[in-house]
Assembly symmetry: C2
Homo-oligomer: 155 residues x 2
DNA sequence: TGACAAAGTTAGGCAAGGCTAACTATACTG
DNA sequence: CAGTATAGTTAGCCTTGCCTAACTTTGTCA
């Protein structure tokens, strides 16, 4: 019974997980300092978060050492990252939202949308991809449509 | 200079505004008790929130009296409500998400998505409506596509 | 090898937002 | 009009999550 699914994680903790996941990459380890910089947070806040993640069985952490994620931690992080990517892809590739704005929006919404919504969003992306292969470029059609509309309304 | 645009509101305060707006309806007034019930929060939390909304010039509030929104408050609330409705409409009518799940998702995401994203989402809804008038029922096509997909993945 | 810089931790504090319990005001009803 | 139920408020507390300042550990290099 290693990986207790201890309830939902806060948005903040998910951010830390995501940061560690992204920083770790191949090497598998992340450093407090980099986490702090990535999340724009003080080093002491990182220390606090790591202790909580450890307690929840999501991170391997010992004072003054670098961090790795446990299996459960990696799974949880991967889920968040996946949500992020799906959201961003939808926003950029289908809605045509500016990349930076989409990035920021995805960073927030990734914590609020449940699996049902994310699954359908992913499905929708596939649907659009499929239809573009079949000769109907929905995203592009929409971009045209949207350009006029948004122009009218000065948004 | 009545309506100071005093920075962004927290998700919590937006929830209170939205609740008051929805409860007020025609009558224009809302009662603490109903706000508390709607938001599933204690009455004392409502009192605290109302004092803040008053301070921000968003609510007309006097102890032991019912609440109304100021012009600025109504505008801010309407914006949140609009985001909510756009999101919910997208989730239900295009993605085919279950109504209750969509409702809950919209309640959260309404606080995190900026005007650029919302504007495009609205535009997308119009786009889909338009194309259905032109004989291509995109939402329905997607529902078919999705049904198979999601079945396969047991989501 | 020892001194210094960089990384990490600890202590203490703050703000937001929620809670319960106890109190006050209001309003309804006999 | 008195008494009680209901609505609203206040006081005091808790949790989350962040901060700064001061301290400790680690690692590097002269």
């Amino acid at each position: 019974m290693v990986a207790v699914k201890s309830g939902k994680l806060s948005a903040s903790l998910e951010d830390y997980l995501e940061a560690i996941f992204n920083l770790a990459g191949e090497s598998n380890v992340a450093h407090s300092k980099d986490i702090a910089e990535l999340l724009d947070v003080s080093r002491s806040s990182v220390t606090g978060a790591l202790r909580i993640l450890k307690k929840k069985g999501l991170a391997n952490y010992r004072p003054y050492d670098s961090v790795t994620l446990t299996g459960a931690g990696r799974a949880a992080a991967a889920e968040v990252v996946q949500k992020h990517n799906i959201l961003k892809s939808f926003l950029v590739n289908i809605l045509g939202v500016d990349v930076d704005i989409a990035q920021r929006a995805a960073c927030k919404a990734e914590h609020t949308l449940g699996p049902e919504v994310i699954a359908r969003l992913l499905c929708f992306i596939e649907f659009v991809t499929r239809s573009s292969k079949n000769g109907y470029d929905l995203a592009d059609e929409f971009k045209q449509f949207c350009k006029n509309k948004l122009q009218d309304n000065r948004v």
